[in-house]
Each structure stands twice: as C-alpha cells, then as structure tokens.
Amino acid sequence: MERSLLAPGHRACAGCAMPTTIRLVLDAAGPNTIVVSPTGCLEVTTTPFPESAWCVPWIHSLFENAAAVASGVEVMLKRRGQDTNVVVIGGDGSTFDIGMGSNSGMFERGHKVLYVCYDNEAYMNTGVQRSGSTPFCVHTTTTPSGSESLGNPRPKKDMPAIALAHGVPYVATASVAYPVDLRRKVKEALKTNGPSYIQVNAPCITGWTFDAGTMIELARLAVETGLWPLIEYVNGELVSVKKIRRPKPVEDYLRVQGRYKHLFKKADGGDILKQIKALADRNIAKFNLVD
C-alpha cells in the first residue's frame, strides 16, 4: 500500500475504529480529495494546532455545518472546473442529530459530495452520551441503566432511509471490518453525479468497552448477527447486500460489550434480548440477508 493520507501520530485511542475508517476512505478516494469534518473525536485527535495528521486538504468549521461547508467547497471547485473529490467525514452526533438540517440541505441541493458517517452510536468525544444513532437498550451516560432503566429506550434512527427519502443517488452502509467492501463503496460513491452517503459501523472502545485487540472482530459480529446489514442503494434501488451464511446469535455481539452488560444481569434482560433479536431478524428479512 502507498503512504497513507492520514499520518500516524494522531491522538485517537488504541482500538478506535475511526482512524482505520478514515484511512480506508482516503485510500479509495486518493490525494485529489478535500475533506470536511465536523467537530468531534476525529477533529480533536487529528488536528491539535500546530500539528495535523491530514495529508489532504482538510477543513473543520463547526459541529453542525460540515455538509454546508462541503457544499461551498463543491460549488467553488465546480466554478473552476476542478475535478476534485469532496468528502465529509463525521461522526453520528453531527450526522444524525445536530447537523441534520445542513445534511438535508446538501442532499436536496444535489451537491456532488460524499458524506461518510463513522457511526459509533453515541456522543463519544463529550463522554458517551446518547445520540439519535444509539441503539435500543444501550447504556450511555445520559441513558444509564438502573433499577428503573434498561438504557436507551428508543431504537436507532434510520439515517440511510432519510438519505434515500431525499433522493440521494448513492446510499450504502459499510463496516470497518470489511475493508474491501468499504473501499469499493467509496469508489462507487465518488463516481456518483450527486450526493452520496455511506454509514460505517465504527466501534468505540471507550463508549462500547471491549478488548482493544478485538475491534475488527466486534464490528464483524455486528454484520454477522444481522444487526448491521451491509447494503447498497443506487438511484433508490437496492443493488447489493452482504449475505450472511448462518446468522450468529445477537448475544455473541452484545455480551462482549460493556454498554450491554446490564442486559445480562437483569431479570427481564432475556425479554429485551428477544426484542433485539427481533431487530436483527427484521433486517435479515427486509434485506434478504440469508439465502
């Protein structure tokens, strides 16, 4: 592999999926790329002034405006006739919640921008608070488990469906555990004449609490249980899914994470596990994941 476009020496946690995700995205996009990032772990771990880990032009403005900033970048490149990729890389808090208005605007205006969300399913930079992406019954610092609580009471927001509802011509999910698939999807997305959206499952060691050496295995389990289907839509049509040979039990995925620990201690935890299994089954049926 050629020199990575994200230099080593950044300050992300050992076992964090975010830098690996960025490297895979940049590998596929190449050096002729401008990256826009919202505020978050990515920004604070890669750009402590006067240092920067970025070997492509990179801009951070605020938490909720990356898609708008990227729109401005894209229109200037277009005015110059410059064929350079514009890629947003941001976490789920900015993507699902606070940046939703800006994302919606970028999607409906049809800018040729690839938006990559590294989805670690909570506000990790501020200390593991619940986001709109946090799955059902996850313990976070603002949806703690307790005698009266099983963690986050709501299911994860369906952001790919929101992108599809905007008519975004390329929408896919991906996983840090499937690098070939992720790189291919980035390349496909960048060929799209319009906006594209890729949501990458990216485990956070601090927020999910797992053994640092198992990050990739954990991300793979999310796919193999059916909880994180790998799907790809082109012009609104589902064109590919990653098939699962034999779905693994959701417990295999949940049991190794601190954020689900409470479910295995509760008397009614078994019922909740059934509900989580039902979410996986629904994905398996909806996307025909098992032949």
């Binding site: 050096p31 002729n32 790329t33 401008i34 826009v36 920004e43 604070v44 750009t47 402590p48 002034f49 006067p50 240092e51 920067s52 970025w54 070997c55 492509v56 032009p57 990179w58 801009i59 951070h60 403005s61 605020l62 909720e64 405006n65 708008a68 900033v69 990227a70 729109s71 401005g72 970048v73 894209e74 229109v75 200037m76 490149l77 277009k78 005015r79 350079t84 208005g101 800006s102 919606s104 605007g105 205006r109």
Partner: protein, 405 residues
Amino acid sequence: MSKGRDSSMPQNTANMKVVEGSYAVAHAVMCCRPDVISAYPITPQTHIVENLSQLVADGELDSTFLTVDSEFSALSVLVGSTACGGRGYSSTTSQGLALMYEVLYNVSGMRLPIVMTVANRALGAPLNIWNDQQDSIGARDVGWLQIYVENVQEAVDTTLQAYKIAEDPEIRTPIMVCMDGFILTHVYEPVELLDKEKAREFLPDFKPASILDPNNPLTFGAFADPSTYTEFRYQQFAAHQKALEKIEEVARDFQKAFGRYYGGLLDSYHAEDAEVVLIAMGSVVGTIKDAIDEMRAEGIKVGLIKLRCYRPFPVAALRKALAGAKVIAVVEKDVSIGNEAGLVTDLKAAFYNTDIRIPIIGFAAGLGGRDITIKDIKKITEKALAAEKGIECEFEFLDLRKEIL
C-alpha cells in the same frame, strides 16, 4: 471630516437612478463579483437576495447563488467556498443573524473575509420585523468589522469599500455592512449605481494566500489549546487595530475614484463649534441633520458625530472629534438589557482614562421601528443642555409610553 451635507451626494446627477435600496445594494454586490452568494430569506433582507438571484438568472451576474436550509447554513456555505478561494456574499438580519452566531465567530477566527449586509431589525420576543440595531450591536464581540450607513448611496459605496478592507492581506477580517431595515432597504432614492469597470479597477480579484488545494494540502480549522489560543485572538485584535487606518484609507481611495466620501471611521456635522454634540449611527443621522439645521437657525449650538465604524471602535478618532463638546448625547437603536446600551457604554469607556470630562447621556431610541422624529431630537438636545449643569438621568428609553406599562 467632510464639510457638510453635500459631500456624500453623487457628483454626476445624470447617472442617478431612482431605485429601491435593496436593488441598489444588489447591484453593488454584482459589481463586486462574488463567486458564491448564499442566503436564507428573512424580512427585511429578502429584496436584496431576490434581486441578486434575478441578476444571476438574467446572466448579468456570474455567481453561484445557493438557496439553503437556514441562515446557519447560509454562512457555513461561505466558509467552504471562501476557504477554496472564492469571494463570498450573504445578507441577513435579526433572528437570522442570531442563528448565525456560532458561524460568525468561526468566520472571523478563520480569517475569512466575507462581506455581509445586515438589514438591521429588532429581535423577538416579542416578534417585531421593524428596524432597530439590536441585532448587529449584540454581535459586536464576534470579531467582524461593522460599518453603519446613513443612506442608500452610502450602502452601495460601502459595499464595494467593504471587500477592499476585508480582503486586504493585513486585515483578512469579515465585515458587516449595517443598513437600517425597511428605512433603507425598502426606500426608493436617487442613487448613482456603481460602474462595473470602475468597480473592477477599485477592487481587484480575490486571491488569498492559503486555500484548500490538493496540490498544497493545508489544514483549516485545527483546534488550539491554552498554549496558543490567546495568540489567535491577539492577531484578530491587531487586525482590527490596523483596520482603523485601512477603513479611512479605503474611504479616501474611494473618494478619489468615485468622488464620494462619508467619513472613514466617522463624520461630523456642525460639531466643530457645538456645545451639544449628538452621536448616532445609521439612517437616523439624516433626521438628526435636519433637526440640527432647525436648531441652528434658532441659535442652538448643536452638532453631530456620525459614527460609521463601530467595530473596531475608533477610540482615538472619537476623543479627537468630541474633545471640544460641553455635553454629549448618544442616540442609539439598541439596548443592553441590564446595562444601558452598546454605544454609550463604549463611548464612556473611551474617555475614562483621559483628561476629557464631558457629561455623556444615552438614549435607547427607535426600538422595534418606532419613529425618531425631529421633535424627539430637539427634546434630546434640551435634555443634553440640562445635563451640562448636572446629569439627572444617564440613560433612558426615548418616548417611553408610560400609559401602557
């Protein structure tokens, strides 16, 4: 200082057209050749951006006009396009400016020389769409330069000046051109529109030293920890101090090229020998000049300092211009709920460490669009004359309707 009322009038009346203020500003923006215009509709700013989008639609203006989801995104789009080396323009007011607040700091901190017209309007609650200046005065600390204009011609001319000031390599700081909503945006006045070619000579193309470019990959918007943050703010502060000279210089350059001058940082009207000096910003200056004409005819020694530049606050120029006054009355369309209002507190601070001991009184006037009449100005002048002998009230709401309280 200009000599009086006529210095700002166009030299060649044959070129004058009666147009709406918003059209005149849109035309001026066209002459500044922005690459990207990004805006969200809000009264009374809408006519400016409607006119701009029509100029683009008619092929008269080669800009990319983006309609966005909010004022927040409007200014954010310009963060991206300006960082890519494009000249950017937006316009907003009131609630829209408030919604932009976080981006305002970001633009100035990243030293992106964006020009934005603020069509000054009151803020809710209670909802009010009419003119005052609470919106931009409230944004005095965000790091943008602020120039307030008296009439449509000055709005036109200041728009062109603003880009030249903002984009100067020593300044690199965004500017708000503040014009009173409705009073100036919706008025039809005879105006000399800018000549495109002359404007091009005056304002060269925007060529920033650092842009987002794959051939020279730079990082924009890194975070600064306590060991470097202060120095970023210091540099912005220093740029504002340099802007004090630059604003005056650009106003003089403009005068040479176009024959019109409004003062750089400030202007004066019968202030030289005045006992009472009023100080104000924006369109109320016109009313005050009329009131002064009448009072002068009655033998009252009253004059005016018209403040154009509120940020940076021109402390030295104000000390010089006001040193001879016996009493100063500030007429301003804003209030700092909890402590007087922006201009009066800044002005008092400007004199505190000097030997100049002039009584200063302040009036919050014209809030939410209430008319400020010649009679009001005369009343303020009477109160100022009385305050010369001893201040009874340092700050008050002009024309307060006590019967409905």
